[in-house]
Amino acid sequence: MAALLETRQLCKSFGALEVARDIDFRLERGARHALIGPNGAGKTTLVNLLTGVLPPSRGAVLLEGEDLTAAPQAKRVKRGIARTFQINQLFRGLTVLDNVYIAVAERLGAGGSMFRPAGRRADVIAEASGLLETLKLEGDAGRRIHELPYGRQRLVEIAIALGLKPRVLLLDEPAAGIPSAESHILLDAIAGLPKEIAVLIIEHDMDLVFRFAERITVMVSGAIFAEGPPAEIAANREVRAVYLGSAADV
């Protein structure tokens, strides 16, 4: 059976610099999968290749067997691939509710509607409000993004992605920049993601990775270095040597 999301021999080069090398990666339905590796290993590049931000130099990206290698970002989103960004990419001057509204409206095909007020789309407003409630953001619904603490902004990133009703959710360092006192809110949000969504999380916080992931892929220098269940990865001496170090003791 085809994996939900799969790459075959995926490569990306910038001139002579190879940032992704022959990546064969599978993300199964309902997976809780982590992608780890040292800085510059090519993790975010892989997310960019999966979402269509970057075109690959070679290889293929497949969603349930459908070849999406040449598909633009918008088509991949429509097929169910959503992402969050390592550095917040939000509509900073708009309210939290507006941020999520825009995502939900696009998914429902209302984004191009020109002659009906946005406020009359009660279905979009209700769904966006519901998502904010799920992520305990309803208290911030009317606040502009730039008025929110960074940790809450990270939650809005997730709310926007969930507004797209993804089948695959790619979380690029969701805990980056969050003070440890606030990180439990994010951990709860990630733990509470619906089981039918396959989640790939890129993270440097090994505590989060080992609590969350059922499978871990390790990338080094643009290639997959190791893959397996958390216990196996933690016990892998080579992985410990190149990346985990003492973090594997958690």
Binding site: F91, L94, I102, M114, A118, G119, I125, A141, G142
Partner: protein, 334 residues
């Protein structure tokens, strides 16, 4: 009864955002009052209304969609020359259908040029918008037989509006009301657009284009559409200019006009609908008053005002008004 929670209040605010506020009647009442109270200023008023319409079209692309352009006069000029050439060479001098023709021609130029230009951004886009305008200006300059070249096309004749209200080049009574009604119709259209999900997606593009791609929005298509709509409205403004003044010349297509309208919008406050009104009124009234008092040095005053706005009021006059209003409310709450 308890107050609604912040989530519900935000949802309600979003649901009611498009509703017409009581104060929105003010510019239209002022416009009608000008007609009755200052009949000797109707020529000035007509130019003011046309400038507001042009600034409004620019606000749609620059203020809402974040497309920075220095060539918006291309569309104003396209509309102006369309009705001028139709009247001079084809005997098509019915004003309302002339406006429609101008909108279609300017919109088509906006669509075609936007399709090419909007692949770029930043300084490249800025330069390309300027180049598009320069190409049109030079075409108008070279097509002497059709455009009158540098001299333009003076003494154009147009039929009475709806067959009832003849254009009046002495007092501008018909022109003023005609321009005001056209501005109102276009304003309603722009208002509907900016409060629609489409308008909200434009704001999203302005705020963060990377995120808009990531939510699956067809970003370029949206930008090309709004660019064409804005071009059509600028074309209507240009057509009004030709019809109201009974002439068209190269000044309708020049950098002076393009830069002037940009200044007006920045002065008023962009991305907020009424910035076009406030900016046009402030700029043109100041220009009028200063030019009367200091016929040779009046531009110095306008320049100083612009420097002050650029340094201290980046959100324009409406931004200052907003800040004062917020302070007042905070003081009352204390």
């Amino acid at each position: 009864m308890t107050a609604p929670g912040p989530g519900l209040a935000a949802a309600r605010a979003l649901a009611e955002r498009h509703r017409v506020k009581w104060w929105e009647a003010a510019p239209w009442l002022a416009g009608i009052a000008l007609f009755f109270l200052l009949p000797s200023y109707l020529a000035f008023g007509t130019q003011l209304v046309i400038t507001i319409l042009f600034a409004l079209s620019l606000d749609l692309v620059m203020g809402y969609a974040g497309i920075v352009t220095l060539g918006h006069a291309a569309f104003f000029g396209a509309g102006a020359y369309t009705v001028g050439m139709l009247a001079a060479h084809a005997g098509w001098n019915e004003p309302l259908s002339g406006l429609v023709a101008a909108a279609l021609v300017a919109g088509a130029i906006g669509l075609a040029s936007g399709y090419v230009l909007l692949r770029t951004q930043g300084l490249t886009l800025l330069m390309l918008t300027l180049c598009t305008m320069a190409l049109l200006e030079e075409s108008a300059n070279m097509g002497h037989e059709y455009t009158g070249s540098f001299d333009g096309m003076p003494g154009l004749q147009f039929q009475a509006i709806l067959g009832l209200f003849p254009f009046d080049l002495l007092y501008y009574r018909s022109q003023y009301l005609y321009a005001l009604v056209v501005l109102f119709v276009c304003f309603v259209l722009v208002r509907v657009l900016v409060y629609s999900p489409f308008g909200q997606s434009l704001t999203g593009i302005r705020e963060n284009v990377l995120r808009m791609h990531a939510v699956g929005a067809p970003v370029r298509a949206r930008l090309v559409i709004v660019y064409a709509v804005s071009a059509a409205i600028a074309g209507v403004a240009g057509a009004l200019f030709t019809q109201a003044n009974a002439y068209v010349n190269l000044a309708t297509l020049g950098l002076d006009r393009a830069a002037g309208i940009l200044i007006i919008l920045i002065l008023g406050g962009y991305g907020r609908l009424y910035g076009a009104f406030v900016g046009a009124i402030a700029y043109m009234v100041l220009e009028h008053v200063l030019a009367k008092a200091y016929p040779t040095t009046w531009q110095l005053g306008v320049g100083l005002l612009l420097i002050a706005v650029a340094l201290y009021a980046r959100n324009g006059i409406l931004g200052i008004a907003d800040a004062l209003w917020r302070r007042l409310r905070a003081a009352v709450a204390r």
